[in-house]
Symmetry: C2
Subunit: 370 residues, 2 copies
């Protein structure tokens, strides 16, 4: 028999019971509903509106087991028994070049990371370019060089591609869609279904660097800060983690919507409560300052080289140590824990001992971030 | 010792020898060079400018064995020995709905066909959407329903996807990028390298239906004609062909750039001469009439459900009969033959006994056709 939320929470995070139950009921088993007639920027922000759009339009039409897992990538079982992971992402970031990277590196690393989150090692990438008439070929060459360099660094091959040109005004410069694939080693099972209460939540590094770097690069905020995108292929870090913590349950890179939204997806997928400790959330001071000035919670700011991992409690220390041994994981932190309740919900335990519910991202404070 | 072009051609198509040699020299071993500073619509048309762009920008940066085969898709060899084919395409067709289909069906079928051209059976597709803010969700649902119906018909699953939204004016409605994958049966080798003189060139059906349907649907030509896009997944037809003609050398769907451009790619890839018989080229009267009015050669008009196959001479009749047994191949025809010379060149033998060189498509008479 499962405890009531109140009973449970008395041994977990502290809530006023009535408030908790009311909030839980309102959050439980709900996926947001699509109420709009037209696409808004929020539908592309990776938060609540995106989830509603995906549910109402894409899942409804395409329904099949791979899609329903709602992961970053699909896992395909080949007739010969091998499993490969496939993931796709379009990149529309503006500006196309920002401190720490460009749309080229983003398009390569972002898709490799989605593949890595399935437990696969990304090996192949396809790249499709939609280019606006009049685009400078010199800039295209630079972006393609960034992709090539990122591919070399990530040890993947760009194996096929496509180029479409649309008339002046029909696209804003350049959009790149990459699809990545890689083989999943036998025996690896990364799935929200394997998440259980007591598991630990790790984050591979500091939050919000990419989103803030792009935001400031737009220049219309009149804030100057030395913030660089964290764009990187995290596959080597994933491999280190999985070697040290082979029971790792679940992985997700915290891109659009940030760590807050990703943890909500986790909570909804495993039916558990995800309790985060505010004091343990790694945020660089510069990023924190910029977020404060803009009134944006770093929990919702996009990352392009960070992931959330749910690991078995007995392997958490080893996993964390392994990640910290790699430059990409130097700031890795144990940020929270899985509780059976509040179901489907993310709770943040604040530094003052209070708690608050962390919803999915609502609206789109940072459009065209990737 | 190889014959001279003149010697050879005296037993093949008839040319004035001096003219032939001059033309051959100018076409031989040349891939077009990129001389532009900015992207033009021609760079996306699938013809000469596209080839120059791909060579100068993408191949130059990404160079690797899969890309260099320049096929419709990449063939990936998995550690366990299986081979899978992967192909990607962006779809930017305007208008999004036209007689015979929509961008949804196109995005599904087009990518499945690219996969099928490697000898694989397409099984999985990913779909990434770039959507303009303000796009009507009702239209999105209709397009997605078209994709789902096409997927069911083609027996493929849409396994993963992505949605990005860009601000009003930053894209023209909707762009869809699909990536397809499928397993290649053991022993199948579809490659331009296996093409040899004497092989027969088959075309799976009539030319130009898709391009003309889209062109007329734009409405600015004031031509009314009952022309429908041929968008379809041709995988079943490929399987029939490969069963009847198991030595099939090479396959390519004749999309952007049309049959003329595809045959040039073939000639360049195998180093042979491709001689087409004008009288055997299947074109529907309506399409032919519209092309004449517009001054466009149907050889360069895009198809979305037709492919060129190079088959062994002794299997040509069986292959043709097999294709004609399927509704998608009812108009399949034996359109030409492979000759050792003129190397890298496509020659059309006209109805009057004359010959002309068929170059790759130059410029873009029909932008945003797919």
């Amino acid at each position: 028999m499962s405890k009531s939320a109140g009973e449970y929470l008395s041994s977990g995070p502290r809530f006023a019971e009535a408030e908790v139950i009311e909030r839980i009921e309102s959050f439980r088993k709900r996926r947001p509903r699509l109420l709009d007639d037209h696409i808004t920027l929020a539908h592309g922000a990776g938060g609540k509106a995106s989830a509603a759009l995906v549910d109402a339009v894409f899942l409804e039409a395409f329904r099949n087991p791979s899609l329903e897992s709602l992961g970053d990538g699909a896992v395909l079982s080949l007739p010969g028994g091998e499993r490969i992971a496939v993931s796709t992402d379009s990149f529309v970031v503006q500006p196309r070049r920002f401190p720490g990277g460009s749309i080229g590196e983003l398009a390569l690393n972002g898709t490799c990371n989605d593949v890595a989150m399935t437990g696969a090692v990304p090996s192949w990438v396809s790249a499709a370019f939609v280019i606006e008439e009049g685009f400078r070929i010199g800039e295209l060459k630079d972006i393609v060089a960034d992709m090539a360099a990122a591919a070399t660094k990530a040890d993947v091959q760009i194996v096929t591609g496509d180029t479409k040109v649309v008339p002046k005004g029909a696209a804003d410069g350049l959009f790149i869609t990459t699809t990545g694939a890689g083989v999943i080693a036998a025996g690896r099972r990364i799935s929200a279904e394997s998440v259980r209460a007591g598991d630990k939540v790790l984050l591979s590094g500091s939050m919000g660097d990419h989103g803030m770097a792009v935001m400031l690069a737009r220049g219309d905020l009149a804030i100057e800060a030395d913030i660089h995108s964290d764009t990187a292929s995290v596959s080597p870090l994933v491999e280190l983690l999985l070697a040290a913590a082979p029971s790792t349950r679940w992985l997700r890179d915290a891109t659009r919507g940030g760590v807050g939204t990703v943890c909500n997806e986790l909570a909804q997928a495993c039916g558990c409560g995800v309790v985060l400790e505010e004091e343990r959330l790694p945020v660089r001071p510069m990023v924190n300052g910029a977020c404060e000035l803009l009134g944006i919670d770093p929990l919702y700011v996009a990352n392009e080289g960070k992931f959330v991992a749910v690991v078995a409690p007995e392997e958490a220390d080893a996993g964390l140590t392994a990640m910290r041994s790699h430059p990409l994981g130097a700031d890795a932190a144990h940020i929270g824990e899985i509780f059976p309740e509040p179901a489907d919900t993310v709770v943040l335990r604040t530094g003052f001992g209070g708690t608050r519910i962390v919803d999915m991202l609502v609206g789109d404070p940072l459009p065209r971030i990737c």
